[in-house]
């Protein structure tokens, strides 16, 4: 059987973390009462006009810089037309012609063969980042044959990040998205929680034989977690391969991922391809950004967005943080990945280090094996851990000073996990887990044991 190569690209919509919406002053808030966060503009009342939110522009610039993009000093807004109940104006304001950032890249890491010890770095090209409006939500009530429309989300700022088809499987797609999530969360430009709809991923998938042109691609939507992303992509690759090997063809269509069935289903639309009738947005002048070189001398810096100013204030990105952890603490690269992957774990680790004499290389084992496995078992996040970093540090100090054995330490840890408020020292005393240091006492115990087992001792001594 001839081999197949899969090609995966991603279109990711990240909700911008801001107080108000992209073009209006209404608030951005998750799970508010329906239609309670809707301004006149959001409801498309006639005569209302868009006013660009500065914070959203800054978020997009930050993200563009973090993804090594060129920031377009002049970008444009367009209208994308289609009729839908959750799109009050009958068009979405987006950036189709000239987006705010282009030509970037994202590096991400994968474990080979599921071994954490062998990680490989890959890169995916970022085609562009564009600012656009989110739509409202419609809920279909089939029992009453009606659709309920909630416009709270209508007009919230989105960054659409387009990743070129440089990925080849579900795992790569998932890893890339995971890294993007971490970057966005580090920047604060988006909270990027997929479960809350702050990060939505659509995958473009196609397959072809090596050396031949790319195959027809499908678009897969309705993916609600990073894990499902990997599943959906892999399923679709398989489906396409099977289809083609059976002599079928792939349709350029949109398919929805069904997480329960683990498959993709065609969303074949009644009409043909949509023509969005793109048109420049006449109510918004071109977005002009400045840098240190182009900023006019007498310009009020409150009035403009300065790319260099933003660049200088970028926080350490995950890749930099990881490298620092490795360098500072001598831990393995794969450890640094795990530390950053869990929200708050790196901070926890560093706090333990601060309060213990134990070497980081030993501490990391406790963090990644003991703490993390307990957290996973009880489905807890780091911030909800009953064992605080201070408590763990105390425990590790007892171990480090050889006041307890390592097996005793594990027992104490288990006790601490119950969260009864006892300190490690209290538990040690309670359970009499102290290591005996007194030589004479030890001799007495050994003698007593040997006395009780005379025959054994005798046999041993003859031997």
């Amino acid at each position: 059987l001839a081999s197949w190569v899969a090609v995966v690209g991603l279109e990711i919509h990240a909700q911008i973390s801001s107080n108000s919406k992209l073009f209006s002053g209404s608030q951005v808030q998750f799970a508010a009462p329906p239609n309670s966060l809707v301004s006149f503009f959001d409801a498309s009342l006639p005569g209302t006009l868009p006013v660009l939110n500065r914070r959203c522009v800054e978020a997009a610039v930050m993200t563009g810089l973090a993804l090594n993009c060129s920031i377009n000093k002049k970008s444009l807004f367009d209208r994308k037309h289609y009729f839908y109940a959750d799109l009050p104006a009958g068009y979405q304001i987006t950036q189709q012609r000239v987006p705010i950032a282009v030509n970037g890249s994202l590096s991400y890491s994968l474990c080979i063969d599921n071994k954490m010890s062998q990680m490989v770095t890959k890169t995916v090209r970022i085609k562009q980042i564009q600012l656009e409006q989110d739509s409202g939500k419609s809920l279909h009530d089939d029992t009453r044959s009606q659709t309920l429309v909630d416009l709270n989300r209508a007009g919230v700022g989105l960054m659409e990040v387009v990743m070129e088809p440089d990925m080849c499987c579900g795992e790569e797609a998932a890893a890339a998205v995971r890294e993007l999530q971490l970057i966005l969360q580090t920047l604060g430009s988006s909270q990027a929680i997929m479960a809350e709809g702050q990060l939505r991923v659509d995958a473009n998938v196609s397959v072809h034989h090596p050396g031949e042109p790319y195959g027809v691609r499908t678009e897969v939507k309705n993916i609600n977690s990073v894990r499902f992303l990997a599943k959906a992509v892999d399923y679709e690759i398989q489906r396409q391969i099977e289809e083609l090997e059976n002599g079928g063809t792939i349709l350029n269509e949109t398919r929805a991922f069904d997480s329960k069935l683990g498959c993709t289903i065609s969303m074949r639309d009644k009409e043909g391809k949509q023509d969005y009738r793109f048109m420049p947005e006449p109510n918004l002048p071109p977005l002009i950004l400045y840098d240190a070189k182009t900023l006019p001398a007498n310009m009020n810096h409150q009035q403009v967005v300065n790319i260099d100013w933003i660049r200088e204030r970028l926080p350490d990105l995950p890749s930099v943080k990881r490298a620092k952890l490795v360098e500072l603490y001598g831990i393995l690269p794969e450890h640094s990945f795990t530390l950053l992957n869990e929200d708050g774990l790196a901070e926890y680790f560093e706090n333990v280090i601060k309060h213990t004499q134990m070497k980081p290389k030993k501490v990391i084992g406790w963090i990644l094996k003991d703490l993390l496995s307990y957290l996973k078992e009880h489905a807890l996040s780091v911030k909800d851990s009953p064992v605080s970093s201070f408590l763990l540090a105390d425990l590790l100090n007892l171990l480090e000073r050889k006041e307890i054995s390592s097996s005793a330490a594990k027992q104490v840890f288990e006790e601490l996990w119950k969260g009864e408020g006892k300190t490690p020292l209290e538990i040690v005393k309670e359970k009499q887990l102290e290591l005996l240091q007194d030589q004479e006492e030890l001799e007495q115990i050994c003698q007593a044991v040997m006395d009780r087992q005379e025959d054994e001792v005798g046999a041993w001594m003859l031997w």
């Binding site: 009342l45 005569g47 006013v51 009729f83 009738r277 048109m279 109510n283």
Partner: protein, 521 residues
């Protein structure tokens, strides 16, 4: 006569704001047959007048507009007063907010009498295609017109002789022309303020695009619309402009510069002026009367010592076609929001969302609107976009550059006709469809919208039929002061007659007695 003089009367106590308001409201009622108003806000107006009167009594009027009755075209949002755009789509629609310009008027103490009639969604050049019926030009009932139309002027036939106001801000023009108010807001996208101003014998100012906020003006073409000002004299237009212009953070297309309101000098040195006469505006459809009037006006300036030269705006002939593409494209986009879901008319169709949309839009829009939407969507299709929309934008740039070149070569003001002829009788006007009429009537006014330039129509003389003829001045971007100064000088020279309205109960009030001399050119 206008806000300035009335304001003085109010300040001096010669007339009270409440009485003034009552008289204007009475006049609105008496001129009801003109159909200039869609909504009259009697109670609100009276309350505003009472507040104003109190302020005058305290000696603390808000400004020159305090207590002055005004009217607003029904495509501006007014909180609490119906805003219909003369369309079934918005019948009964009560906006929750005021357009910025409306708010500014109210903040100055103006008394808002009501909303004036227009072509549906401002699409048209006659004010004949709205759901509330056509607007009648007050001059139809003037002695000047009746004298010249003795042939069929028996009272029974009178009703069929009335002439249109022009459009689409015909209601506002008629409201000002018939003395129901002292100033009115219109809108201007292709000439919609200047055209009816010319036909109704009032001043119609189209400001530079970006000078006055469009927030709350229901858009026709976002990149060309401006709020327009209709008054009985040029000084009043300057006053209104001063109160309305300036940056609005809610409208990103307004310029940031601070606007400095100005007073117009009573005299200027005409010899310093260079007036341009664009030869391409000599279109064959121009009536001989207008041609003559135009020449006479040019001579007026020449005799006063101004430099009057012929100039060329070579891309003028393409502006109508270009406008057609860009206007319909924007219309298709702007009208997409009218789906019956959030506000406005909703059809009683429950089969599916799509069928509800389709029925709502078919029922809510007239043929003119629907025709433009279809055209616009066609031009915006992917396969057509470059050939139509982008091409039209390029032509637009050429048209705008024509003006840049001419103004850059030393010309201060352009002088052109506003309309092709005097106002047509309604029965004649409706013989052609809206699209044809618009294409014909917009030809002299449209290019100024393409280029975003300020322009003003000033009443110049009466036609053979006793109807107003206006002439247009086009100025440099944001040079409204120069534009209106020249317009004011011209106004003084021509001494356009006051309308002699008959059949309307004339109240015995001194404020209406200011008469310009009756001589005409």
């Amino acid at each position: 006569q206008g806000p300035l003089q009335v304001s003085a009367a109010l300040r001096e106590g010669r007339v009270g704001a409440v009485e003034l308001c009552q008289r204007c409201l009475a006049r609105v009622r008496d001129t009801g047959f003109l159909n200039a108003y869609i909504s009259v806000a009697e109670d609100a107006a009276r309350r505003q007048a009472e507040e104003a009167e109190k302020r005058y009594q305290r000696g603390q009027p808000l400004g020159v507009l305090d207590g002055i009755p005004v009217a607003v075209k029904d495509n501006f949002n007014t909180a609490g007063i119906e805003t219909t755009c003369a369309s079934n789509m918005l019948k009964g629609y009560i906006s929750p907010y005021n357009a910025t310009v409306v708010q500014k008027l109210l903040d100055q103490g103006a008394v808002l009498l009501g909303k004036t009639n227009l072509d549906e969604f401002a699409m048209g050049s006659g004010s004949t295609d709205g759901v509330f019926g056509p607007v009648r030009n007050p001059w139809s009932y003037s002695r000047q017109y009746k004298e010249k139309n003795t042939s069929k002027s028996h009272s029974e036939n009178e009703d069929s002789e009335w002439v249109i106001t022009g459009g689409s801000s015909g209601g506002s023009a008629a409201a000002v022309s018939s003395f129901t108010c002292f100033a009115a807001l219109g809108s201007d996208t292709g000439g919609s303020t200047r055209n009816p101003a010319a036909h109704c014998g009032v001043v119609g100012l189209k400001p530079t695009y970006g000078l006055i906020s469009r927030h709350g003006l229901i858009p026709l073409v976002n990149s060309m619309d401006v709020p327009g000002i209709l008054t009985r004299c040029v000084d009043d237009a300057a006053v209104l402009l001063g109160l309305l212009a300036g940056h609005d953070p809610q409208d990103s297309t307004t310029i940031q510069d601070t606007f400095k309101p100005f007073e117009l000098p009573d005299s200027i040195d005409i010899r310093k002026l260079c007036i341009g006469i664009p030869k391409e505006y000599h279109v064959p459809e121009l009536s001989s009367e207008i041609q003559t009037l135009w020449s006479k006006a040019a001579d007026l300036f020449k005799d006063a010592g101004a430099k009057v030269i012929e100039v060329s705006l070579p891309h003028t002939p393409y502006s109508i076609v270009c406008y057609h593409v860009l206007c319909t494209a924007e219309v298709a986009s702007n009208m997409a929001r009218f789906d019956g879901l959030e506000y406005g008319h909703r059809a009683d169709m429950k089969q599916s969302t799509e069928s509800m949309y389709a029925a709502t839009r078919r029922e809510g829009f007239n043929d003119v609107v629907r025709g433009r939407i279809l055209s616009g969507n066609y031009f915006l299709l992917k396969e057509n976009y470059d050939n139509y929309f982008v091409k039209a934008q390029k032509v637009r740039r050429l048209i705008a550059n024509d003006f840049v070149k001419v103004f850059g070569s030393g010309v201060d003001i352009l002088l052109t006709p506003t309309t092709l002829s005097d106002a047509a009788p309604y029965v004649e006007f409706i013989k052609e469809d809206n699209r044809t009429r618009s294409a014909q009537d917009d030809i002299l006014t449209q290019a100024a919208n393409m280029a975003g330039l300020p322009a003003v129509s000033v009443p110049a003389a009466l036609s053979k039929r006793g109807l107003p003829l206006g002439l247009q001045f086009i100025g440099h971007s944001f040079q409204e002061k120069q534009l209106l100064t020249v317009a004011k000088w011209f106004e003084k020279q021509v001494k356009f007659p006051v309308i002699q309205l008959e059949d309307v109960k004339r109240h015995d009030c001194s404020v209406f007695q200011h008469q310009k001399s009756v001589s005409s050119l």
